[in-house]
Symmetry: C2
Subunit: 147 residues, 2 copies
């Protein structure tokens, strides 16, 4: 039960775009700053496409930008898209797939745990993460400026 790199990198990409909203940002730039391969980022962008949160410009001087304000981008959507069905349990999503689901005492457990994360993620947006990102950057710089 680990978090995939697609989700981790996808979040980093979106935070980067959210924190740098002037003009287009190339995947190359993100790749260098976040230490990810461009090719892998391209794949991640493809997966994110259906969410319609990215504007892309092709060709020279092209790149990406968020098409919505970061506070409109819910982490729940990102998780669901990049992590398959996050915390998916067949007996929860597909009732009937487990013959004992009627009397299965663990089923409620999965429902509860899923609800726990859904509740959390639906409250959070990319904007929350961008704020932290900027705060951290700020601190980093001020630390560096000290002797």
């Amino acid at each position: 039960m680990k978090v995939s790199t697609k989700l981790k990198y996808g979040l980093k990409l979106l935070i980067y775009l959210g924190a740098n909203q002037e003009g287009n940002i190339t995947l190359k730039e993100v790749a260098e700053k976040e230490n990810i391969s461009v090719k892998y980022l391209e794949q991640i962008v493809t997966i994110l496409r259906p969410l319609q949160i990215l504007n892309s410009t092709r060709g020279n001087n092209g790149g990406y930008a968020l098409s919505k304000h970061p506070k409109e981008i819910s982490l729940f959507d990102i998780f669901n898209t990049l992590e398959g069905n996050f915390f998916e349990m067949n007996c929860v999503e597909l009732p009937g797939s487990c013959t004992s689901s009627g009397i299965c005492p663990t089923r409620d457990l999965w429902v509860d745990m899923r609800q726990l994360y859904v509740g959390y993620l639906k409250e959070k947006t990319i904007q929350d993460l961008v704020k932290k990102y900027k705060g951290r950057k700020q601190n980093e710089y001020s630390n560096l400026s000290r002797p």
Copy 2:
């Protein structure tokens, strides 16, 4: 991000043992009732051994029993043992494994989400699940007894 069968079956095993505390229960019995292979259950039992929640008796008429009261068996321990490190993130468990962890805005996210689950699981015990199991069985029987 799915829950492994080891964890699912392990829970079912422990619930079964918790609900049937008279004498030894063989893996064969659990396997038949819960529709799992005996050999696979043997593996799961091996993984659970370090937790010291099981008494085993070898030989003919042998079997397993819980060595603690179900309410003393925390789901958190079961999850951690059967699911590797549940919701593990290197950057959280092994600070320094991620070069950017100092300014990484997603790290807090993983910490929060992990805490959400840990908090939930530490409160819950096998006893909670056993109760539901027995309640369900009860209902099932009373339903069957109706015309």
